[in-house]
Amino acid sequence: MKARQKRLIFVGVAVIGVGIAATLALSALNSNIAYFFSPSQVHAGEHPTDAVFRVGGLVVEDTLKRQEDGLTVRFDVTDNARTVPVSYTGILPDLFGEGQGVVAKGRIGTDGVFYADQVLAKHDESYMPPEVEDTLQTAHAEGVVETAGQSMPAAGRTVTQ
């Protein structure tokens, strides 16, 4: 076999290999992604009923309730337009709190409660997940009045050189 033919075969095999690998990776991706929906979207029924997805927003004040077993908590998540009740069994992250932004991942039950198997709050108290921020802004743009005290702490500071 000539060197040129060898190289052609090598390139051919490589192209086929990459193609197969890419197809496998993409199809695996489809079963492993979780879409994000805001509480308003959940109310409008845009969410999947049989797949894992994420819902995010602010934890509504005074809705955090601990259940009898001491490990399950219930709280409402809002985008300031609609709310979704969330149930989670386990230990909440340190920065979880009422009035804070959260993203929960899980499935929605037939009772309309979102059963989360993961709840994310952030490392840094002045950080807001981009999805949550977008959600709040969308709700705001649609004429919902924002509740007080949710502006980013970094904004509006007097700075001098």
Binding site: A25, L29, K105
Partner: protein, 666 residues
């Protein structure tokens, strides 16, 4: 006054960087020797100025000068002194300053340890580094000046994020940055070679030790980050496939491919264009990582509170660096002929396989990390990619890599015979097959095939390297004098060989750790009252209740546990839940009883009810230390390889020793 001095030093450093970028390069192109000799002093000057700036910021932290905005945001008068120092790089502006300082240090190191390099090469490398420094210094001065003042001066600072008040995290960023920035040296060497149009074995030998040192730092940095996340975040995981973790992993993956490909370029003068491309990619991915972390485009547990203008600046800078270097590559690389043919069974092929797998890993991580952005850009919805996907992808490719790591070092350059290799490796093969069969026995109740496969691959890696060392020593004159032979080898040109063996054994250890941990770890969320006991993995956890305990700058709820195995008390654990005074931020401080074969890990959730009950998380983590020990071995291997005398000896002796090694390995 001192902060202004720091600010002024930064501006001077920028001006010096402009000179550094222009004159040595121009001198090297026009043959103007005085301009070229400016390169080294400029590199030292750059380091001095940035050290002054860094010292000024450190001083502001030590004296708690809250009139500096950055200090006010990241420190507090109650903060312990060591964390006042580490708080210097605890936020965006300061970590950038650390970044440019380290880059200047790398530049000065190149200037100091390049006595045997041609002046044209040194001046070009230093010039390229000056160009990168311009980018970062502009970025700092325009968007993230750490010396900005605040008025009115706050009474006290907002405190350092409590998660960062930890010795592990005090050294994690410097290590990681040393790695990131270190790839800028490899990048500068590659670009310098492209400018000169001379890509040869000598170029590879020059840039190889630098690349390996950067890789060692990056390895340690990532390992520290993983270890920190494990004990500090209280989730008990060691890797989360978080975008920011991925951002540090991508340069590491390409860097690993690069140090292997450099070996081929140095020894066989092959893969030259490919190696240059990898060097460009490694640094570009470091920049991309910076962009992802700083711009906040991705949801990440690490993300800093962000500012879009910063993201935009880095994006533009990234485009200039990547676009410019790739254009140069496209223009110059075809002139560099690829020498050296090799047959299918040869070390070149094995290393090519290694490179392909590592590049595939990188593409997967890159794609998985950017997928949310891609989906958003096409309006397909907001997604997050679950970590099962990453695990699946890595599991699919890793076995091939592990097999290859065992074969590669046993093969000869250019061409090898299957029969000869089988003679060396047959018993390693037999032993790993035995491990496969034994670990699949029902006694070990493994539910998946991955446990036997993982352990067998690790055994293969380990025994194959024992076989390779044995073969080398036999060729060096007999096994009767094994000890002295190894010592002599370590004094001579054998260090890079033993470095490779150490690093590869580290990979074996890593595989064992990951395999055992992910299949046998146990985790339980429980509610316990004082006096309650809970049994997990043969250990009995007795909860004695929690008490209020004050710390230097926090108030803690400290739980107390006795852990028994049978009747014997194994350990006492004191996990804490802290509330920091500065920001009032709560923090979980897990308690861990570490061990070579298992960790016992308890973290406090929150108090439940009024009877002193707590929601807790208990973990049993077998072999988790092997993951980090493996990474440490990899880094040690790299360090050993760099210490090989052949990188340091000048002229003829260097060439002779390289020829010797080539003769031995060939």
């Amino acid at each position: 006054m001192i902060p202004e001095l720091g600010h002024f030093a930064l501006i001077l450093a920028l001006l010096l960087a402009v000179v550094q970028a222009a004159f040595p390069l121009a001198g090297s192109l026009s043959g103007n020797r005085p301009w070229m000799t400016m390169a080294r002093p400029l590199a030292y000057g750059q380091l001095t100025l940035l050290a002054v700036a860094f010292a000024a910021l450190t001083q502001a932290f030590l004296t708690s000068d809250f009139s500096v905005l950055y200090v006010a945001e990241h420190s507090n008068s109650l903060l312990p002194t060591i964390y006042k120092v580490s708080a210097v790089w605890g936020g965006h502006e300061g970590s950038l300053l650390l970044w440019v300082l380290m880059m200047a240090a790398w530049g000065a190191a190149v200037a100091a340890f390049s006595k045997n390099l041609p002046l044209t090469v040194v001046s070009r490398v230093i010039s390229v580094q000056g160009m990168i420094a311009i980018g970062f210094l502009l970025f700092m001065l325009l968007t993230s000046n750490p010396f900005e003042r605040i008025f009115p001066v706050p009474a006290d600072g907002r405190d350092l994020n409590p998660l960062l008040q930890d010795p592990g995290l005090a050294i994690h960023p410097p290590m990681l940055y040393m790695g990131y920035v270190g790839f800028s040296v490899a990048f500068a060497f590659a670009v310098a070679a492209l400018i000169g149009g001379r890509l040869d074995a000598a170029w590879a030998r020059w840039s190889r030790p630098w690349t390996t040192v950067a890789w060692v730092f990056l390895t340690i940095g990532i390992m520290l980050g993983s270890w920190w996340a494990y004990y500090e975040l209280g989730w008990g995981g060691w890797w989360f496939w978080d975008p920011v973790e991925n951002a540090s992993l991508m340069p590491w993956l390409v860097g690993t491919a690069l140090i292997h490909s450099l070996a081929v370029t140095e020894k066989r003068a092959a893969f030259k264009s490919w190696t240059v491309l990898l060097a460009i990619c490694a640094f570009s991915l470091s920049l991309l990582g910076t962009f992802l972390v700083r711009s906040g485009v991705l949801t990440s547990v690490h993300a800093f509170a962000t500012d879009p203008s910063r993201g935009l600046f880095i994006l533009i800078f990234l485009c200039i660096v990547v676009g410019g270097s790739l254009a140069l590559y496209a223009w110059r690389a075809p002139e560099v002929s690829d020498g050296g043919r090799f047959s299918l069974l040869s070390r070149e092929s094995a290393l090519l396989g290694n490179n392909l797998i590592f590049v595939a890993f990188t593409v997967l991580v890159l794609f998985g990390t950017l997928a949310p952005l891609i989906y958003e850009a096409f309006n397909w919805g907001k997604i997050s990619v679950g970590f099962p996907w990453f695990n699946k992808m890595f599991l699919a490719l890793s076995p091939f890599l592990a097999v290859l790591i065992g074969i590669g070092p046993a093969t000869r350059w250019k061409h090898d015979e299957p029969v000869r290799m089988l003679k060396t490796l047959w018993w390693a093969l037999a032993l790993s097959a035995t491990v496969l069969v034994i670990s699949a026995l029902p006694v070990f109740s493994t539910n998946t095939l991955w446990v036997p496969v993982g352990l067998a691959l690790a055994a293969w890696l380990f025994f194959a390297h024992v076989a390779i060392v044995y073969e080398r020593l036999r060729n060096k004159g007999g096994l009767s004098r094994m000890g002295p032979a190894i010592l002599a080898d370590l004094r001579g040109g054998g260090r890079s060989f033993y470095g490779m063996v150490t690093a590869h054994v580290g990979v074996a250890m890593f595989i064992v750790g990951v395999t055992v941990l992910s299949n046998y770890q146990l985790e339980e969320d429980v509610r316990m009252a004082p006096g309650d006991s809970y049994e997990l993995a043969g250990y009995r956890f007795e909860f004695l209740g929690a008490q209020q305990v004050p710390g230097p700058n926090y108030m803690a709820q400290r739980g107390a546990f006795n852990v028994y195995r049978g009747e014997r008390r194994v350990t006492q654990l004191f996990p804490e839940k802290r509330a920091y005074m500065g920001g009032g931020m709560p923090m979980t401080e897990a308690a861990i009883d570490p061990g070579l074969f298992r960790d016992i890990y308890v973290s406090l959730g929150e108090a439940v009810g009024n009877g002193g009950d707590w929601a807790l998380r208990l973990y049993y983590k077998p072999f988790v230390r092997w993951i980090w020990l493996g990474a440490i071995l990899m880094a040690l291997g790299g360090a050993l390889a760099v210490s090989d005398p052949r990188y340091r000896l000048a002229g003829a002796r260097a060439r002779k020793s390289a020829a010797d090694t080539a003769a031995v390995t060939a």
